[in-house]
């Protein structure tokens, strides 16, 4: 699908952080239902990604379950991550992590790389994305390996 350059540019600008003085988020381009390019320009590390998915602070398995035999407590609020790499392309996984709200405004999945449009964020987390660009790339790399 071809998109006009101005349309793509508008989307890039929309992705820029609105708050001045905030941590700068890496700009990205949304095309169709995904973000094709790595946020860091580098491929992520799937092993680090797996550790991140299992870390409570990343919040993934609070809601999702997956092929993680060592994780005793996994959530059932959201679909299992098993097979995520078969169901979605890396570009689709990346947009889902970065800003799932863009795909479904009613979703309960947080936007992991977005700092605008939020209400009463606690001071420890203000103006920070939930995950860094590097962490998102690591998780995308790991999820892409979950094939069925």
């Amino acid at each position: 699908m071809m998109r006009s350059a101005s349309r793509v540019l508008a989307m890039v600008i929309a992705a820029l952080p609105a708050t001045t003085g905030a941590q700068q988020l890496t700009p990205y381009t949304v095309e169709a239902d995904g973000i094709a390019a790595s946020l860091t320009g580098q491929p992520g590390d799937a092993a680090r990604g797996r550790a991140l998915v299992l870390a409570r602070s990343s919040t993934c398995i609070l809601c999702h379950s997956g092929p993680f035999p060592e994780a005793r407590f996994q959530g059932d609020l959201a679909p299992s991550l098993a097979g995520a790499g078969s169901r979605s392309t890396p570009a689709q996984l990346r947009l889902r992590l970065v800003d799932a709200r863009r795909l479904n405004p009613g979703t309960i999945m947080p936007s992991y790389y977005r700092i605008d449009g939020l209400t009463r964020v606690g001071s420890a987390w203000r103006d920070k994305p939930i995950l860094s660009a590097e962490q998102i790339e690591d998780i995308v790399a790991y999820l892409a390996t979950l094939r069925e």
Binding site: G75, P110, L118, V121
Partner: protein, 257 residues
């Protein structure tokens, strides 16, 4: 066209509650979600740790305090008579401030106005003990908080807050407690957030705590700036939750995981 209108009316009739709200017949207290061990702990007054707080409260009830040198009992008499059903209608409208006050605030208003004593600190042993004692007198009674028509705008505000997304994780109370109460967050039952048993003994706290403490914990959980203690929005949210549990039986002081 007519048929479509008729269909729309029929559909509306089939939806007695607002989208996302829990139907009255489906409401369940936190007790219902607990393990049999925790239920047994709550059911047996000699095993329920919250009963130690109630005993504390009985002592405080009859202890003279303040410049007025009066005890609660000097005005209110026997707690099991005068306080029967009271907690089930709190937060209640306070005419002096034209706003709702919760049970702990009422205790402290009484201390200030009638005992001429310093108010107890939020979450203090004394305040939890007196509220636990008073709440126990509503055990088994239906919640009626919010019935007072003067409370209507405050209930509405509380509902607005309940539906408002907040924090870095951008979640509203309703996202979990209306829409996903039958699911699990990392293995723990989410529950409906029906505040039937406050103040509670919470196993995670290894101690007693108020509904405000529980709500602050939830807000921090979604990485939001928690409402400050006793602020109007905090009271409005407590009031909305109690009115949402309208008719459910009180089981205070409850045990919760």
């Amino acid at each position: 066209m007519m048929r479509r209108v008729a269909l729309a009316i029929a559909l509306l009739g089939a939806l007695p509650v607002l989208a996302g709200e829990i139907a009255p017949a489906e409401r369940r207290s936190g007790y219902d979600f607990m393990s049999s061990d925790s239920k047994a702990m709550q059911d047996d007054d000699t095993a329920n740790p919250a009963m130690l707080s109630v005993l504390d409260g009985e002592t405080l009830w009859s202890t003279k305090a303040g410049a007025a040198n009066k005890s609660c009992g000097d005005c209110h008499g026997a707690v099991d008579v005068s306080m029967k059903g009271v907690a089930a209608r709190y937060p209640a409208f306070d005419a002096a401030s034209s706003a709702p006050v919760d049970l702990a605030q009422r205790v402290n208003l009484c201390r200030r106005q009638h005992q001429e004593a310093e108010p107890f600190a939020a979450e203090s042993r004394e305040l939890l003990a007196l509220t636990a004692l008073v709440a126990k007198q509503s055990r088994g009674m239906p919640i009626t908080a919010g019935d007072d028509p003067r409370l209507k705008p405050f209930v509405a505000r509380g509902r607005e807050l309940f539906l408002q997304r907040q924090g870095q994780l951008n979640l509203a109370c309703s996202n979990c407690h209306d829409d996903n109460w039958d699911k699990h967050l990392a293995g723990s039952a989410i529950t409906q957030g029906q505040p039937t048993g406050y103040p509670i003994y919470r196993l995670e706290w290894q101690g007693m705590g108020s509904l405000q403490r529980r709500l602050r914990g939830c807000m921090t959980g979604v990485r939001a700036r928690a409402f400050d203690v006793d602020t109007p929005d905090m009271i409005a949210l407590e009031l909305y939750l109690m009115s949402r549990a309208h008719g459910m039986a009180m089981d205070a002081p409850a045990v919760r995981p």
